[in-house]
Amino acid sequence: MKSRLPLALAVMALAVAVPASTAAAKTTISMSGSTSVAPLAAKLAKGYLKAHPRSVSFRLAQGGSDVGVADVAAGRVSIGNSSRDPKGSDPGGLVWSRIARDAICIATNANNPVSGLTQAQVQAIFSGQVRNWNQVPGAGVSGPIDVVVRTAASGTQDAFQKIFMGSSKVSSSAAQKASNGLVAQSIRSDPNAVGYVSLAFTKGLNDARYKGVACNLRNAKSGQYEGVRNFWMVTRGRPAGASLKFIRWIQRSRAARRITATGWVPLH
């Protein structure tokens, strides 16, 4: 048996190598990344296929902005979706193309119709200075505030910190959820909860006005609502080939603009 081990290993190596060499032949645009960008990316891909039937095929995975950035830097996908702006520690050689803008809403449970919050109130609540709904005017419930935020790696968290929190830090006792959907679910099931989600995830929740402006598409488009961040498609090097065509189409065509405008803020 001993003498046959190398042979066995060779057979094994062959078995591993064969599936790897059967790569795809048709042009595929693969995307991964932000859970906030994913719904928009899916709609855009569908629209692109309608405009250019059978030109490419799409593969869309999620995972979070940082996953998208890491995947595209490593060459695992053609486009990485990111809902956060580029930062210093990102891998080099990436090109960021802005595709849309998106509103982040401060949301509470439907039974707790907080009408509006000032920036100072948002900061006090999320940093843990104010911990009881009694101290928040307009709250429909009493008792401790359950703060729900996103994990550090989330693009939404990054944007929330920059736009709403400024220099104050999110309380360390806040529950950190891994996706927009989980935050929305936590708020829906807990009357005392408050959190922030991308505009596309606010169904069934109460969106609080921020600085007196309601969180909706119209106010985000007009620029009155301040809690707006960028959506990016990231490529390794300048976009080329099918990716270039797709990103150009998103940025320039009317059809893409119409699709984007259904739930997000188009660029132009």
């Binding site: 290993l9 057979v11 940082d66 520690s89 008792g143 401790p144 994990t151 679910q185």
Partner: protein, 331 residues
């Protein structure tokens, strides 16, 4: 090769071929496991070497530390690594031990009932159902937890006063140790039942019949002969269940609390509704940040701890089983 094919060499050669193929498959498994251990440890090394033994200790807030690691500067010399994993290790131990102890109690009696006491008709339904339950994907349990159990505990079992009493330390929203243990128990118990049932069945009939002949009643025979003989298999069932519980990530990430908090047993009943976040769930929750090198290395350190503890688990179970084997059966 030039030998003429004869009826005698035909089957012999195909035997050899099968041996080669199976040997190759077995070596794939070995190489994969060895490669995985080396890979994970190599990836995790910077996190361990920066913190030393303090990595396993307590100090500071784990979530703040994770955020600081995530926000490390781009310069590799200035990467942030400071991390004290105690609350996560403690949470992993609490949730796993809690579920295995409760689960074992249930599983043992359920298995005894199925094998010795259940009427045939009931047994014919019970057994397939148990085996089916053992195969339910964990994310389904997670969904039930997050949609039903967590809101129920948060809105009906935890009083406002209890929430307010700890509001400055921790949020009690229903995501809790108790919910995590309950769902994990439901997840691992069917496997344990199935394994213990198999073991009890393999106890030689002559042993139990001998005991009956000596005048022992049914319960006594089961407890002193069958269960005793099945002990090695029961330990094996516990090990498998513990391994599943240790590695369970998705469900725990959904229900257990999303905050690295170490529940304090001195808090009385509040202890059970305090949030926890075990190691595997922390990996899932922070997987988004894998691209940030120091955070990735810290997550690999969690993986290394889980991997090594499951290795020690198998070793420990082997040691425990040795003295039991003398009068034991193995399915």
């Amino acid at each position: 090769m030039a030998r003429p094919a004869s009826p005698a060499t035909g089957p012999h050669r195909s035997d050899k071929r099968a041996e080669l193929l199976l040997g190759a498959l077995a070596s794939v498994v070995l190489v994969l496991i060895a490669g995985m251990v080396v890979f994970v440890l190599a990836k995790a090394w910077p996190s361990f070497s920066h913190n030393g033994l303090a990595w396993f200790g307590s100090g500071g807030n784990v979530d703040t530390q994770l955020i600081d690691i995530f926000n490390s500067p781009a310069n590799p010399d200035k990467y942030e690594y400071t991390f004290h994993a105690w609350p996560l290790l403690y949470a992993t131990a609490l949730v796993t031990l809690g579920a295995v102890i409760v689960g074992l109690t249930f599983a043992l009696f359920a298995a005894i009932f199925i094998v010795e006491f259940a009427p045939n008709r009931l047994r014919a339904v019970l057994e397939p159902v148990v085996r089916l339950l053992a195969a339910v994907p964990s994310v389904i349990y997670g969904l039930i937890g997050i949609l039903v159990l967590v809101p129920f505990v948060g809105n009906h079992l935890i009083s406002q006063g209890r929430k307010e009493s700890v509001a400055y330390v921790v949020q009690l929203s229903g995501n809790s140790l108790a919910v995590a243990v309950v769902i994990l128990t439901v997840m691992i118990t069917p496997i344990m039942i199935a394994l213990i049932v198999d073991a009890l069945r393999t106890v030689p009939r002559s042993w139990t019949e001998g005991a009956h002949a000596l005048g022992a009643n049914r319960w006594r025979v089961v407890w002193t002969i069958a269960v005793r003989a099945a002990r090695p298999a029961i330990v094996g069932a516990c090990v498998l269940a513990t391994a599943r519980a240790l590695g369970e990530a998705i469900m725990l990430s959904m229900v257990s609390g999303s905050v690295g908090f170490a529940p304090n047993p001195l808090d009385g009943l509040t202890f059970f509704v305090e949030p926890v976040r075990p190691l595997a769930a922390t990996i899932v929750d922070n997987a988004e940040g894998l691209s940030v090198k120091p955070l990735g290395q810290t997550l690999y350190a969690f993986a290394a701890v889980l991997l090594i503890s499951s290795l020690f688990l198998s070793l420990g179970a082997w040691l425990v089983r040795q003295p039991m084997k003398r009068y034991g059966v193995r399915p």
